[in-house]
Point group: C6
Chain length 284, copies 6
């Protein structure tokens, strides 16, 4: 068993290489202007459309390509995948017993606030409510993080920025952002890319040829139109890439579409058949 | 990692500079009279209308400009953003293990009660019920805080005052103040500022020119009238300031209104379009 | 930070001066007879009508004015404000880690049972159910407190008495006293004082003159009659005193009534207007 | 603060004097036969009708008057008032930290099982479900208590007996005994005593004269017939005794009935009036 | 206080004498065949019909009468009475603090898996869901218990067998076995014995004569037919034995049937009367 | 008591012998292609149809038969049976007290991520929601596991793969995979084998002859058609194997079908009878 590194050393993305990202509009300019004023940003959009990749790309641009010492920050992006049991304590930090005294350990949000990284809270509405409140004083003129357990009042590093995401498609009333939280963020909306752009992405990521990539992007677009079958979710770009990878690995295109698209997006036999019909028409 | 300061050193606002605040009515006089009699104060009002800034301003006036030794209190304002998991223990304090004995650590409310600061419980109805009861004996003739875990009976410092806030707009029946709590506070109601005052605020905080600030304030007023579209929440002054900051950062006014107003306040396409229509009419 | 006193030293009211109390009927005689037989007492009544002050007054009479050694008991009254998270352990006591052993620490109920104080559980139905059961063996012929965590069986001090309160006005079915608990208490019902008595109280507590005090008491009585506006709660004597304090502090009577009565008792615009109409008629 | 005794020394009733008890039927014979065969016993009946006193009386008869060494058992009766948060761990025992090792501490049930006392679980259906299951192996041919936390398998002392009680009057479906628990007990049903017997009890316990006692017993019987007013609960014998004590303490009989009967049993004005009418007719 | 034995020494049945058991059908042969193939067994049946006694009897047959070294296993049967708060940790084991290190302590299931005992989980559907999943890998070809807290992967002792029970009569939809758990067990269904067999059991266990035993068995059979009175549960064999014991102890048969049958099985006056009518007819 | 091995040594399948597996289609080829691209795999299918055995078989093929050093990995497969109380902490790891310091202990997922094993989360939708989110960053281009408690950012071993399973037959809306989780997996659907294949399996696993195995497989197929009786679940292959084992152990085929099929799959008398009718027809 490799020994774990010491707490606090390395939580985040080191971003040693540039994350490949194909812009869909002016999202890069808006994000740069928001970052310049250190305005918090909310990313909205369906699953698997590239929000996580976009944040990684922006962290690369704003840190690795900066002309300030920010360029050398070891972990410019700290990502937290939120879930129903994530608490403010998980974000901010806790006391741990070490030897015969308790030692404070920063959580991922506190590490970002101290070091000047971007903190990205993915699907923030999934988390417990105390987590959304803990970011309030970081997202107004105060830019400070009160650490209640230690009594510390931490002023945010000048480079710190907060980014959150959520998917409006399957939020319930119970899991919506409160207006008092929501009205603290500039909002960027994402959607699936156009067929041309998505074909480029599929080709780049899976290694299939241009014709196969084009066909898979077309299948993706058609599947996303299956509303009349009561199919709410589209197919993600990620699954189209998986399909390409299976084809590149020797699985027949029809079978690859079956296991990585039709059966992956739903358990409903009728929807699976509707997807199979689309594949039949579009594959040679 | 910068080592955290010792518990209890610094939780609160140090208020080194005067917080800018534009009065909307006689709220400063009422607050001063309430403070003179040490009456607890409840601030009601929508999100982002300036309640937090008002309390900071009053703490500056009543402490930094006082002619008593109160002037030198290091942290005259201790703010707690309440949430569903905040307990009385979080407010009052807890025992922590240190070396081989447990050491009592004051919570933010106890620190304010001991030192004579203003304690501001923001959105208090969000907290767990024990937190509202814990303030009862601080808000009547007794002015004392029983710390059940230590058996201490703490008399409040003569300068201590309690301030709480809540937003009547989205309180449910389950999250209302009980009459036995509510009838312990003088109540100040806040609303969004007039167009003229809000334009001043936007100009001061975002750096845009007077004409742009005036236009954004007008957009704000119109958006708050969108009741016929089922839009309950207005747009906060804070978002109008964000919009000004993006414009000042080079984003076109229309696009800035799009990402910092229309898409920030709602996910509803129809309401977003109604906001866009207002922007179209009011921007050149 | 002032160091907290040792656990167990000082939880309760020291009652160094006589608490001012104006009797409304024969409540003092009934309480004295109940105390003489050590019968438990239940105080029922609306918020802010003086129940807490009454118990303090009785503790002064029965201890500080006693002709027994009871007179010298340091803390003759131990009050616990009950809330939804209060458990029997909070009342009875717990083990705390100190150095390398755990030390038992009495809770407020146990301190009263040992020392012979009055224990006052305010709004007892708010507490968790185990708290009501823990008082059962203290409120029948047994007069003993089993401390389950230590195995101790504590006989109550001969002077110990239990007093509880609740507000029948806003109890729900879920938060009612069980008959097996309720039928262990002599019950005293409280209501708001008459206009004449309330004027005396307002004058005494706020420092306004007799005429202003009389007007505020009249306003209180009229506001309590606002049933036709769907207003269930009256205004507490405490808020009328606050209003007097603001007037004494230089705020105009109308504005003082606005912030300390109309907006303090409700968020409902219609009820606020009805209160304002009453104020308009009764103030010069 | 008197130091608490060591864990395990004294939880239970020492029964130094004979508890006064007036038999209502053959309950003493049945209990003795059940005890002789060590059959578990369930006591059913309304609140305040004497179930607790009966168990104390039987413990006196079966231990203090026994002709075996059982006579010298220090605490022949261990009573646990059950509540919604009582767990099997509370009954069986737990590990506590002492110095630098954890020490097992028996709970009240385990103390009774080891020492051969009667364990009386009052209002057992209020407790958490694990508590009812923990008694299963004690109430069949096995008569053993598995202590899961230590792995010990404790054979019950030959004198051990389990007694439980509940009040069928206000049990809900959610809080009923499961048949697999219920069918392990011989059941004794209790009801309020006849007027003649109750007058004897009131006289004995409160010190009022025979005529007053008779009147209070008659009032009790009439109040229990108030079904047509939607009044489900009767008045307990205990409250009638309280009334007698207040009268003996100098309070007028009408006022004593008001505070210890009418207002004690209900908050409903109509029921209170109906009780007052009964009192008016029966008091001179 | 007798000191508890060390953890792990003795949880289970030592089975020093043969448990008396009267077979109702071929249940002994089926169980022996299942044990020979080490197939897990599920016992279904109403409360008090003898499932626990049957498992004890089989453990005696398969261990104490075995011709292998299994014969000498000190505790061949480890029974766990399941309840709503029983967790997988309770079954598998936990770390306990001892001195200044934590020591792993096997739970009852782990002790059975290590030592080769029968583990009997009584009323398994009452337990928390993690307990049913923890037995999955023990009940298929793997026969292993992963102890997640230590990382140990424990291969079951060749003699280990798992037996569970439940009562289909009062299972709700919420508390049913999941098919993925259920389809891992051979199922034996139990019902109450015939009148002849039950009379034998009553006579053997209570000591009453053959005629009384026969009458009680007949009463049992009739009571179980009271479906038309909305009486779902029958009377257990155990209660019939209790009745016999009270009769043997001198209580009149009618009164014994009253307290140990009629009032023991129900609180419903009408059902109690129906039972009394049966008793009247069948007793002399 | 055999001492448990050290944490982290051995959680998983050591796979010393090849697990017998009969392919039903191209599932082996698809899995190999997915593994080659390290795509996560979701196995869907009813209980007891062989999903667990399939993963064991694939782990044998991909590790024990690999021509890389992967061949020597001690535990190539780490299986976690998910349940309602399984948390992300259970999967990722926790701090444990050892001597006088806390030591980090990897959970089963972390062990697989570090060592390059296959991690199989069986019935993943049963687990708490934080567990599904914790796998997100392992199932996209990042292939990393953030260990929030230590701050470590663990890059997955190149050989690591994640496999999950669920049973669409009894998932409720509350327990469905979120699209943001689901669209990260290639999906393989399993169903019961054909009669011919299932007869082979039954013969191989139970030791009965070919004719008996064929009959049992036919019974299985017929029972799975009992939809018209409201019987949703089929009978698992595992139960058919149990039936064969009982027959091989001397129990008559009819009785073996009764206890291992009819009574094992349901408590419903009508469905049990329908199964018995099928058995009557198909057995000699």
């Amino acid at each position: 068993m490799t020994p774990p590194k010491k707490p606090g050393d390395a939580a985040g993305h080191r971003l040693r290489a540039e994350p490949w990202y194909l812009p869909l509009g002016d999202e890069i300019e808006i994000f740069e202007a928001a970052y310049a004023a250190r305005l918090p940003v909310l990313l909205k959009g369906p699953t698997g459309c590239g929000k996580t990749r976009f944040v990684e790309h922006m962290a690369w641009r704003l840190y690795r390509q900066a002309d300030t010492e920010r360029r050398t920050l070891e972990t410019p992006l700290i990502t937290v995948a939120c879930h129903e049991d994530l608490t403010a304590t998980d974000l901010v930090g806790r006391f741990l017993l070490s030897g015969d005294e308790t030692v404070w350990t920063d959580g991922p949000l506190t590490r970002a606030v101290r070091s000047g990284a971007i903190c990205y809270l993915d699907e923030v509405v999934e988390a417990r409510k105390d987590t959304t409140v803990v970011v309030h004083s970081l997202t107004d003129h105060r830019r400070l993080l009160p650490i209640e357990k230690t009594g510390e009042l931490l002023d945010a590093h000048p480079d710190f920025q907060l980014v959150i995401s959520y998917n409006p498609g399957y939020q319930s009333v119970l899991k919506d952002l409160k207006p008092s939280t929501r009205q603290r963020f500039v909002s960027l909306e994402f959607d699936y890319p156009s067929v041309e752009l998505e074909a480029q992405i599929i080709g780049h990521e899976s290694g299939v040829g241009a014709q196969d990539a084009q066909r898979l992007a077309l299948i993706g677009a058609k599947v996303r139109n299956l509303r009349e079958h009561g199919f709410e979710e589209g197919v993600s770009t990620r699954l189209l890439v998986y399909t390409g990878q299976l084809i590149a690995g020797g699985i027949s295109p029809r079978r690859a579409c079956d296991v990585a698209i039709a059966r992956a997006v739903t358990d409903d036999r009728e929807v699976q058949q509707a997807v199979a019909d689309i594949v039949d028409v579009l594959l040679p």
